[in-house]
Symmetry: C2
Subunit: 354 residues, 2 copies
């Protein structure tokens, strides 16, 4: 019945998570009430929020390590602002790897000096900058671990002495790496975590309290932390469904196991892109994202043929972003490798037939 959903976000979630979320909208756990009509101050929902926060810390290996997890609203775009509002006193550094880094830089400039430490704009962001020097007086350094639009991803995290902040919207929970290198990271839910409408923020509690400005309540990490993400009514459905999805990730063997599956999917698609004479990849090899594979036809006149093949095979959501063109196959945690196999088959059929 289902399509092969390569959408860049909102994106595929596990079938069982969607079924459970669907059931809870009718009735939550035999409570005779729907998930969406219970008070957020009820024990039932407080348990859900607590479990969501705890699972986020466990999955990232940060439980009992001085970190706090929050589920907020507003997406990564509101975090661009909140990070600067809460942490930028004098000067911050940003690594610019694409559209989203660029937006983060724009918002931060309202609050202090912003240094663009490095940028890959010269080649339409098809690589991750590697050689740069970091000033010693930065309040923090900000980077985007995965660049959804351009299909690039940090394979290693810079070793620095400056507080490190990351937008992980499109690769959180997708691979096993050392999350404790970051002082704060955030992720809009709608790729690997859950439905659109909530944003996970995880931070070292010790980084707060260092700016002199007054921070509005809703944008204040300390206030949100003091209230355990319940300063006001949280986005109940999105938090609940994210929690279900984190249960699913654990049932899959955790991030380690998920990371291997994601690597296998990426190997399959990139192997075909490199082998198939009809396609070429956009991002440079060493920085290719395991989440979003960007590629183009070598002969653009075959676009309609390829689109028809994909449509007939039930493939959805592979049109590239307008900044890059061509195709983008987003392969988040819940996308089965079978979907990638179907896409690879379409690529092979195109090569044979045309």
């Amino acid at each position: 019945m289902k399509l092969h959903n390569f959408s860049a976000g909102p994106s595929v979630l596990p079938r069982e998570v969607m079924h459970q979320a669907s059931e809870a909208v009718n009735e939550l756990d035999n409570s005779k009430l729907s998930l969406i009509e219970i008070s957020h101050r009820s024990k039932a929902f407080i348990d859900i929020m607590d479990e969501a926060c705890e699972r986020a810390l466990i999955l990232t290996g940060l439980k009992n390590k001085g970190y706090k997890a929050l589920f907020l609203q507003g997406g990564a775009s509101l975090q661009f602002l909140m990070v600067a509002y809460n942490l930028l006193q004098n000067k911050a550094g940003y690594l610019n790897t694409g559209t989203w880094s660029d937006k983060a830089i724009k918002e931060a400039k309202l609050f202090g000096e912003v240094v663009e430490i490095s940028s890959s704009k010269d080649k339409n962001y098809n690589y991750i900058p590697k050689n740069y020097s970091i000033p010693l007086d930065l309040d923090y350094l900000h980077l985007t671990t995965n660049n959804t639009i351009f299909g690039t991803q940090y394979k290693s995290i810079p070793e620095i002495n400056t507080p490190l902040i990351a937008d992980m919207s499109s690769d959180i929970f997708s691979r096993n790496f050392d999350y404790s290198k970051f002082d704060l990271f955030y992720a809009g839910a709608q790729k690997n975590m859950g439905p659109a409408g909530t944003t996970l923020v995880i931070f070292k509690e010790s980084i707060l309290g260092k700016v002199s400005r007054t921070i509005p309540s809703m944008l204040n990490y300390q206030i949100q932390a003091n209230k355990d993400s319940m300063f006001n009514t949280p986005p109940v459905f999105a938090v609940y469904t994210s929690m279900l999805n984190m249960r699913w990730i654990e049932a899959q063997g955790g991030i380690n196991s998920i990371g291997k599956k994601n690597a296998a999917k990426a190997e399959l698609i990139y192997g075909e892109i490199d082998r198939n004479s009809r396609f070429e990849g956009f991002a440079i090899h060493e920085d290719r994202s395991d989440m979003n594979a960007t590629f183009n036809l070598t002969d653009p006149s075959l676009a309609q043929n390829f689109d028809e093949l994909c449509q007939a095979a039930g493939i959805s959501g592979i049109k590239g972003h307008r900044s890059v063109g061509g195709y983008r196959a987003s392969m988040y945690n819940a996308l089965p490798i079978e979907s990638v196999e179907v896409l690879v088959e379409c690529m092979q059929v195109l090569e044979k037939k045309y």
Copy 2:
């Protein structure tokens, strides 16, 4: 099966809306995809957002009258901040009718001079202030049309020449009045509109552009308006379910018809509060809210007896807010009058038995 859900918010929604929302989480309109895994840039979702905005304008009688409707994130609490960020250049007036007005005042003070024009704090907010004078040099006057915690509601809207702004979180779409008296009003969804996670903001487009500060993108009404609520990924599920609920309101005969039903429910409960020797109302008669009836036992030692009666009858969510104590029966649009009848019966049984 269902409980009588008097929760103050998140709160009861129509059964058919919850069923439709539940189905869409499994599959949206035979699309072979779930509502929560489609791109927000897909035609399917753009149609949903457009319909939601249009229905909000139609229900409030503001279509083609120079108003814009937006579905944002962050709840009314983020609007406390956004209103001031976008509209407070020098001085604003606030009518303080309770906790939520108070919070709005607190956030506004970060952006300019705030004058508390009037307050009912002297009597723990059990009435709506009526005699006050409004300075001529205000950028706007802000009020809270319904006070969920204290159970008071503006029965008429002040006739003034100053731009008027209202928090309508707990009574939007609940009664027929002249929404065009307001220059901007907003409502967190989780009472009369839909599930928690989105906030409706409706404003006259002509009120923007009058402050000199730079407004961060996510907090900027003009930017959000230019992008038709899609500056970033919107809270898909909450917008969709709110749209379904607005369809339901129309099918009920619109706000006019809903308002009559709400008045009948209010008359029923307040009639019993006034008649029954075991209970007394909290708010003064003329300012009683049709949405939230606040009342106390005349003999607090009967609390356990009353709670047991209510529980046995399947009544949920009538515990009063800690600022008032006692009981609060929230009777939003989707609460059937039968639920109020059951509550009234419990009140009568208490009087007879004890």
